[in-house]
Symmetry: C2
Subunit: 215 residues, 2 copies
């Protein structure tokens, strides 16, 4: 499929558009919460949920999608959007205020994974995507849990990204306007992990849970 | 309107549902990036953009909505979702892994604000919502900029929230499973602001831009 499609071509601020897979995968791999959009009778719904990526496939945790899935046994047209917020951009003019961000939009038809082996592999990919190393340390899903879990599969075929980085861009005549201008960088930061109150004695925090970061 | 409507009633994990305005406004006021969903010919689109709240009204920056607005001069059915991520929840079983989060979904019909006075008021609300104090310090929008800016108005009438907080909840028999369990708290944190390279001499960082926090 050619990139972008008419549906994913960035209309506003086209200079911010990015269509290459490498950049898009970098954004998808830094994030782990997506917003899934679907429509029922013309009414759109947007639900946050976790996801993982493996190769050219997105795996979307379906717990949030029950409303959607009740309405469609076959594939569902979805839009999956991942947004990373990098900062507030303070320009001299209100009009040129902006944000630094990186966002990806993937359009396509999502299917619920039916086979047990494929579902287990998808859950593994999702788990590793969010916190690599956790899967092998936790109790694995049993048959009943697998049945109770919905995972959607969405091929990454039709997509685009938008990226804005760096300092404000003001109108030339505004650079003499006397106000502070610049960027307030924002980042998602992990604080010290909090042990569960029922933690067994002698168990310490595993390496993979220390200093959690997506970078 | 009664809360929740059939459309905003939380189906999955109903114990996490919140329907009172006070909680919902707290979530909306801590966030400032929403994901707007709309559908064109059955295909959903989800676009991140900034928003503000004033009283029972959401103001949504329309730059991202150009695709949507080209398709609808009158009101557009939208879903606006705001998600705050508070942490990773590591349970003993993979199945009970979760996230701490607070999310709000608002359904309704969004209208582009036409009147200049109302648009200016909406932009002011939006600016104050994101960074209180900035509006009066920056160059105000002129007539041309106001024309070039789209702001959508969405009454907060049909909504719900989902909130998950606290430690993992494991199956009783899993509490003897020997692995670390607990929460990795996550938060959006501001780093030291970066001055624009063309900053006028003698201008220092304003108070409102120091230690930016949404809490």
């Amino acid at each position: 499929m050619s990139h972008p499609s008419a549906r994913t071509r960035v209309v506003r601020e086209p200079q911010r558009a990015v269509y290459d897979r490498a950049t898009i995968y970098e954004i998808l791999d830094e994030g782990f919460i997506c917003h899934v959009g679907f429509a029922i009778d013309g009414q759109p719904y947007v639900i946050p949920t976790s996801y993982g990526r493996k190769d050219d496939m997105l795996y979307i945790h379906g717990s949030a999608a029950s409303r959607m899935l009740r309405h469609a046994n076959s594939g569902v047209p979805v839009c999956v959007t991942v947004t990373l917020l990098d900062g507030l951009v303070l320009a001299r003019s209100i009009f040129n205020h902006s944000m630094n961000y990186r966002s990806v939009v993937v359009l396509g038809t999502a299917f619920a994974i039916e086979g047990v082996d494929e579902k287990l592999a998808a859950l593994h990919a999702l788990s590793e995507h969010i916190l690599s190393g956790r899967w092998k340390d936790a109790r694995q899903p049993n048959e009943q849990e697998l049945k109770a879990t919905t995972v959607l599969r969405l091929p990454i075929e039709e997509f685009s990204a938008k990226v804005r980085q760096g300092q404000p861009v003001d109108d030339e005549e505004d650079y003499s306007f006397s106000t502070w201008a610049g960027v307030i960088p924002l980042d998602m930061v992990a604080a010290t992990p909090l042990s569960d109150s029922r933690l067994l004695e002698g168990i310490s925090l595993p390496e993979y849970a220390k200093k959690y970061s997506r970078k």
